[in-house]
């Protein structure tokens, strides 16, 4: 049995956990660990340019692959820089293991150089955290961390490692545990038959059902089961922002994303439904509007692996707590197609189609009749969809571009849409695209961003050059912080407080070129599609495509604050209430 130090044991444990990529940034407290990385070749370390990007990259990797993303940072500023990334993963339930260096045990609490209380700072934004107290416990802690991160409702786990715990001179016998013993922690499983029966009975009785699926269906790998249920019932399906791809966007039963900027038909359907089946979604405030006025006529079934998410915001008639795939299979085994009210559901589907015809988003905006002087951001997304045949991994930052991408890129598969839905972290797009590209080097990986967000992690252009990551960056450049501007237009009388750059934007083409990448600028709609094709076809180059879009465009529909799900603005001048 080969003896290991704490540092080498840590890396060996990652290798035993089949970790191939470790995103990180070195520093004093982590140096023993970095020396251990140097002396092996199973775990490849990816040097980013900022710790926030390390966490986002691991996060993108985790979202795209379904595996646990792994991060290594040093103590103090390394740890605090990682916090935004950890909070991002926590809000979207992404499995990560984040290892942070810490000052030596005897220095903890002395305000030592680069000391920060990582356990304390990260506590509210982790699923769990460990402070290593002896080198010998490292293998077991790593095993526990991976199991906790991945099972149940996934989430980030922090392992804080004081420097003396990785001392290369302290050697011990290494053994990686096959399993672990934990009290009171178990993975979610099936639901009791009686609850499933109740749910099935509501599903069979429904005349106006909506299947409302969120990120939990993606995390729970239950898309196939959802498709089967939708088919049996011929029920309309809406996805949350986090759930896009859980159900194919080009499927005839798909009615678009719901919520704040959801489609008119999806929000109307939620309001008029007589049954809402929430699957792996958590009635987030962006999808319910005013909970007091939320879908008052609908019976509600809520399936979630997290018992704490059930009845947190909306009371339900039946709760199904457990594994999405298993419970959906229980339902599929029990539901009897003969009992489903097909005639009523046909009428319901027609009603939804008529809503789509009034205010839907199903127009080809690249059609010449929609050509205006300025490029519309929606046109850019439709052009991207065409150039990538709808098959690309799309990461996004946060703001108007994110909503346009969610509305207009039709995701047919889970894990293709990578965005910070819960925390809404600007700066997420580029580093998460790196993580995806590492996992899928032969696939198109596109970061849809804006000139505001991209500048929050733009230093990663350097990382992309170092590791040869030919991601595509589509910058919807409206020369302003667009989503804030939209709100200032709508609610603050057009008083543009702190959203303009006053001619200080960089020349993004030159900026990309200075890192050795390809830059492109597009200002004219007539060249958009051709340049987009050109951009996507450069398979081994990172292309930064800076597209000047109409700075006055707003995202619609938009739910009216405090209203119900049918109260929307559908354009600058039209509202439904």
């Amino acid at each position: 049995m080969k003896k290991e130090s704490g540092g080498s044991a840590l890396i060996r444990a990652l290798a035993d956990e089949n970790v191939d990529l470790l995103f990180g940034y070195p520093g004093g407290a982590a140096l023993h660990i970095y020396d251990a990385i140097y002396q092996q070749d199973k775990v490849q370390h990816i040097l980013v340019r900022h710790e926030q990007a390390a966490v986002h990259a691991a996060d993108g990797y985790a979202r795209a692959t379904g595996k646990v993303g792994t991060v290594l940072v040093t103590s103090g500023p390394g740890a605090t820089n990682a916090i935004t990334g950890i909070a991002t993963a926590y809000m979207d339930s992404i499995p990560l293991v984040v290892i942070s260096g810490q000052v030596a045990s005897h220095l903890i609490g002395t305000d030592a150089f680069q000391e920060t209380d990582m356990m304390g700072i990260s506590r509210p934004i982790v699923k769990h955290s460990f402070l290593i107290q002896s080198p010998e416990e490292i293998p077991e802690v790593v095993k526990k961390a991976f199991i906790i991160a991945k099972t149940g409702k996934p989430g980030p786990v922090v392992i804080d490692v004081p420097k003396d715990m990785t001392d290369p001179n302290h050697l011990f016998d290494y053994q990686y545990p096959k399993d672990i013993k934990m009290r009171s922690y178990s993975a979610p499983s099936e639901e009791e038959e009686s609850n499933v029966d109740e749910a099935v009975s509501l599903l069979e009785k429904a005349k106006k059902p909506v299947l409302y699926a969120g990120g939990g269906i993606i995390q729970g790998n239950a898309s196939e089961e959802l498709k089967k249920l939708a088919k049996i019932m011929n029920a309309p399906v809406t996805n949350t922002l986090m759930g896009l791809g859980a159900f194919p966007a080009t499927h005839e039963n798909f009615i678009g994303m719901l919520g704040m900027h959801g489609t008119y038909e999806a929000n109307m359907a939620m309001h008029e439904a007589d049954l809402i089946f929430a699957l792996g979604s958590r009635f987030d405030d962006r999808t319910t509007n005013n909970p007091k006025k939320y879908s008052l006529n609908a019976k509600k079934i809520h399936l979630d692996c997290d018992y704490g998410s059930i009845e947190k915001i909306i009371n339900v008639d039946v709760s199904l707590n457990g594994d999405a795939k298993k419970i959906l299979n229980q339902i599929l085994n029990k539901i009897d197609p003969k009992n489903i009210d097909k005639a009523s559901i046909d009428l319901w589907n027609n009603e939804i189609l008529s809503w789509r015809e009034t205010h839907g988003l199903n127009h080809d905006l690249l059609d010449k009749k929609f050509h205006q002087k300025q490029i519309l951001p929606q046109q850019v997304i439709q052009s991207l969809y065409k150039s990538t045949n709808g098959k690309a991994f799309i990461t996004s930052d946060v703001g108007q571009h994110q909503m346009f991408a969610a509305q207009y890129y039709k995701f047919d598969e889970p894990r293709k849409w990578i965005n910070s839905g819960g925390l809404g972290t600007m700066g997420f797009g580029l580093p998460s695209a790196m993580g995806v590209k590492f996992a899928f080097p032969d696939e198109d990986v596109v970061c849809v961003t804006g000139e505001g967000s991209i500048q929050m992690c733009i230093q990663e252009l350097s990382t992309c050059m170092q590791y040869g990551l030919p991601v595509k960056i589509i910058n919807l450049n409206n020369r302003a912080l667009g989503m804030v501007k939209q709100w200032q237009d709508m609610q603050y009388g057009g008083r543009y407080s702190s959203i303009l750059y006053e001619d200080s934007l960089p020349d993004f083409v030159k900026l990309a070129e200075s890192y050795g990448h390809v830059g492109m600028k597009v200002e004219d709609i007539s060249e958009l599609e051709e340049r987009m094709d050109e951009c996507i076809s450069m398979k081994d180059k990172l292309v930064f495509m800076d597209v000047y879009v109409d700075p006055d465009e707003h995202v619609y529909p938009m739910l009216e604050a405090g209203g119900n799900m049918s109260e929307m603005r559908v354009s600058k001048t039209k509202k439904t209430f």
Partner: protein, 170 residues
């Protein structure tokens, strides 16, 4: 008011995870008592929280999600007994103290220390009883009090004990 009992891992950080669930939501914990149990790897925590029932039910769910939390029991939902222990320091003579104790019923009191001009009395009672008793004390002579917080336990077969460890493989 809810009286909640929690069995948790006797680990550094476990208490802050539990307390954090309350503080991050802006809820105040009225009383809190923590100590090891007959199993030294476990601590038992008993707390009183004055919040609406919907808030409590949400908090109980969140408590169950904390990895270090092994079991949670809402003593207010089951038949349970509760009591509080307090130590009071008064500037009185031993004779006066004995008189106070005699009139303290239903609170049970006992002199546990007498030094210089000060007497310490140990009190046991329900928390209302202890409240009432403290209110009845002469403020000039009543110097200091420490209270255990409301302790409690379910009656009969309402146990709060750890289930056996589950082995997780993956």
């Amino acid at each position: 008011m809810s009286h909640i009992s929690i069995l948790m891992e006797n680990q550094p950080g476990a208490l802050s995870r539990v307390v954090g669930l309350f503080s991050q939501r802006g809820y105040n914990i009225d009383s809190l008592s923590v100590a090891p149990t007959n199993d030294s790897s476990l601590s038992r925590l008993t707390m009183v929280v004055k919040e609406e029932e919907s808030v409590i039910s949400q908090i109980l769910k969140q408590l169950n999600k904390v990895i270090d939390v092994v079991e949670v029991q809402n003593l207010s939902d089951i038949e349970s007994v509760s009591l509080e222990i307090a130590i009071v320091k008064l500037k009185i003579t031993e004779k006066e103290a004995k008189k106070i104790i005699e009139s303290a019923f239903p609170v049970v009191g006992e002199i546990i220390n007498h030094k210089d001009a000060f007497v310490m009395i140990k009190l046991i009672g329900s928390n209302h009883e202890v409240d009432d008793f403290l209110l009845s004390l002469n403020k000039q002579k009543f110097l200091e009090v420490t209270r255990s917080g409301l302790l409690g336990m379910g009656t009969g077969e309402n146990f709060l004990i750890s289930e056996s460890e589950t082995t997780i493989e993956y």
